[in-house]
């Protein structure tokens, strides 16, 4: 581990409810959903109607802009409902699952004999192409281009994230297959980042055909965007792709078995989860199937698909996201607290700043809720953001450029290098309670519109 990149700045949010390494149950979902909202900027075209029969791997949606990108059903069954929101925006395609699962057979194939185009074709047809996220902007990868490189973060530092060693312990063969496959899609190679803490212990260490990088530090050291920033920053005009180990496993399974298989171990975590642990689930599975994790007597629990920093509030009736293997349950903090800001101690709350005394109890975990703990204000404290962002950018200036809609400045301050998840901690620590992720998101949308 000679080239360990040690990131000094960051914060591991001490939230309670880490999932213990056991699998409580296998979920056979009744209904699953394919959600176009899992992908940035996607204009979906419906390929099915209510009542249609689908198999696991049958295309359900296509991308309007590049119709060869397909989105497939994770289960076999019947299209039960097409849910639309405001302005008829397509939100979900709900599929009622059959008792026995049938898979479209894409044919098991040896990756070594396939060309780049054949691999691309297989991924597009099977609905696994959306596994690639393209930076800048974090959109679905454009199949027309060859990216500078492909990056994989083999560990997650996000709060309560699923433990990679546990969830992928049986998937390493598939991941190796996938790595061999996607290595043909780029000239820059596949870059895998490991955590220095268990550098030699993790099974990812044994992967071949990859370039390793080692990182140490607190969250967001495990974010692939932060890693790219330190390995090879994205310049204007360059594109790189990222893919998660979770999706590598699915890609590997496609080539090894010929099946579109999005089943995964999902960490059910969070302060409101009773006995937090893992379940065997699938992308698009309903939150109802894990409702039994909720502690008794709590009426308002927020179901988050993903982690508390970047996940989506999907609600009790919602479904797991395409890229997620974690559900976090936290309490809605819609309560008042008398003179809370003036109380000297407030020991039940965590603060990154030393204005409270939580720094005296470093090992303590906190039952966090969704209360904002204050009102929105203008930027006042300029130096707190840099303390949790191990990147060589000026977050306040970037966010102000986004607010102003100034393309030149956004470019200058590094918008190509960041996604919302990278600045999520800045939002967490912000004493002015500014919606940094949402502002950045608008900024990225504007960039896409103006630079297209």
């Amino acid at each position: 581990m000679s080239n360990n990149i040690d990131l000094k700045r960051g914060l591991d949010i001490p939230i309670s409810g880490t999932a213990v390494q056991k699998t409580r149950k296998v979920i056979k979902p009744d209904v699953v959903a394919v959600k176009p909202t899992d992908f940035r900027g996607l204009m979906p075209r419906l390929l099915v109607r209510e009542g249609d029969k689908v198999m696991a791997g049958s295309p359900v949606l296509a991308d309007k802009k590049s119709p060869e990108i397909l989105f497939a059903s994770p289960v076999s069954g019947t299209v039960a409902e097409i849910v639309r929101g405001e302005k008829r925006k397509l939100l979900e395609v709900r599929i009622k699952a059959d008792e026995t699962q049938e898979y479209v057979d894409f044919g098991a194939r040896k990756v070594s004999g396939l060309s780049a185009d054949e691999i691309k074709d297989a991924l597009l047809k099977s609905g696994l192409w959306p596994a690639f996220i393209q930076r800048p902007y974090g959109i679905i990868a454009n199949p027309e281009i060859r990216p500078k490189a492909i990056f994989v973060s083999a560990f997650s530092t996000a709060p309560l994230a699923a433990c990679a060693e546990y969830v992928f312990k049986d998937e390493m063969e598939n991941i190796q297959t996938a790595v061999n496959a996607i290595a043909k899609l780029t000239d820059g190679g596949v870059h895998v980042s490991l955590n220095s803490e268990n550098y030699s212990g993790t099974p990812f260490h044994k992967l071949e055909n990859v370039t390793f990088h080692v990182f140490s530090g607190k969250h967001p050291a495990g974010n692939v965007g932060v890693q790219i920033h330190h390995i090879s920053p994205i310049l204007k005009g360059e594109t790189v792709w990222t893919v998660s180990p979770l999706m590598l496993a699915a890609i590997g399974k496609l080539f090894n078995t010929g099946k579109y298989d999005l089943s995964r171990l999902v960490a059910v975590s969070g302060p409101e989860a009773n006995d937090p642990c893992y379940v065997q689930g699938i992308a698009g599975m309903p939150m109802e199937s894990i409702a039994d994790f909720c502690k008794d007597g709590k009426s308002s629990v927020r179901f988050i698909s993903g982690d508390v920093l970047t996940g989506k509030n999907v609600g009790e009736q919602g479904f797991l996201g395409f890229h997620d293997n974690q559900v976090t349950l936290i309490e809605e903090g819609n309560h008042y607290e008398m003179l809370g800001w003036a109380k000297p101690f407030r020991t039940s709350l965590f603060s990154f700043s030393h204005t409270y005394f939580s720094w005296l109890t470093p090992g303590k975990k906190y039952d966090m809720d969704t209360n904002l703990h204050g009102g929105p204000r203008a930027f006042v404290m300029s130096d707190v953001y840099g303390k949790v962002l191990p990147m060589d950018i000026y977050p306040v200036y970037l966010i102000k450029a986004c607010l102003a809609g100034d393309i030149d400045k956004m470019e200058k301050f590094g918008i190509y290098e960041v996604l919302e998840e990278d600045l999520a901690l800045c939002e967490y620590v912000c004493p002015s309670k500014i919606e940094i992720q949402s502002i950045l998101s608008d900024g990225i949308d504007l960039m896409m519109k103006e630079m297209a």
Binding site: I13, I15, P159, S232, P233, R302, I304, V308, L309, T310, N313, T328, I330, G333, N334, H335, Y336, E337, M338, L339, G340, W341, A342, R346, L349, S351, F352, S353, H354, T355, Y356, M368, D369, T370, N371, H373, G374, G375, R377, A378, F379, V380, M381, D383, D392, Y394, Y397, K412, E420, A424, E427, Y428, V429, C430, P431, S432, K433, E435, I436, S438
Partner: protein, 396 residues
Amino acid sequence: MRKFIDKIKPSFEKGGKFGFLHSTFDAFESFLYVPNTVTLKGSHVRDSVDLKRIMITVVVALVPCALFGIWNVGYQHNIAFDLGWGFWQMVWYGFLRVLPLYVVAYVVGLAIEFISAQIRGHEVNEGFLVSGMLIPLIVPVDVPLWMLAIAVAFAVIIGKEVFGGTGMNIWNPALLCRAFLFFSYPSKMSGDTIWTGGVTRYLTDGTAFQSGNGLADAFSGATPLVHAGAGGVQGLADAGTSFMDLFIGTIPGAVGETSVIAILIGAVILIWTGVASWKIMLSSVIGALAIGGLCNAIGGTPAMEMPAYYHLVLGGFAFGTVFMATDPVTSAQTETGKWIYGFLVGALTVTVRLFNPGYVEGMMLAILLMNTFAPLIDHYVIEASLGRRAKKVKVA
């Protein structure tokens, strides 16, 4: 209490009977209770710190200065009139003199804050909690209250609200208030008699707080800064002021700025909580020592020969460095910029002190000037950083 608020809340909401007072109601409600708002977008959990907490931390850090200032007002009065008072008499006198300053600062300042928030329909910002705490500590105790009221109004309206409120202002409002006083009422605000409580009244009416005693024979009222400016260390010694007096703060001066010990307590609180930047404080001290040391080497006048570290305990330097220069809104925002900004604050202060015979207190002007240039410093720091990065990428 909560029930009462919930009961009257609807009438303050849009369309309610008092809908136009929405901001005011909101300010009081959020003052009493942390609101029940939950996160809608982005991160689902948030840190428990908010601006109210940060502001209250600064206020707490200012308490030692305020308490010492209250005592010192009585102490100086006692010396000036040769009253032979005990500790509690001094505190009581100081309290009676300082309290009106606070009342005026807060009432005027908060009223303007509330009105402007009301006009804009914003939430009331808590920034003035700190400004209102600072202002009485940096004015002479004998300042007429009507002047203070006008100065506060000027500082809040022109210094802050026209720019859009806390977070948008260019100059530190509290310092702007003091600058306004000094330049608008020079006849009242300068001279040697303004700094000791009760002396102004004695000179005009012939009566002080306690009648019967005239001014003590030895009374001069001049601040040590004046002595030092005129005679260097010897000047201080002639006036009977030692380094320790300056350090402890038993000297005439603005209410809260005299005691370096009290200021250091505040500095420790601010640095430890991370509210104020230690970089600015340290570099400001370095800047003052550098220019002071340079002048020592050149020599010439007694003031220039005064050891550089005297500048750190004289006048408003310590107070300004710890509480004013570090204002996160008006100081430089980049980390490198903070070093430059702080250094220049310290350096300019000493420069003004030593080379401007008419105006001895350089701290206020140095900070206001650097406030003006802080965005420029940041601009060049960022340009340099981006340039470096571009070069690095090109090489790689």
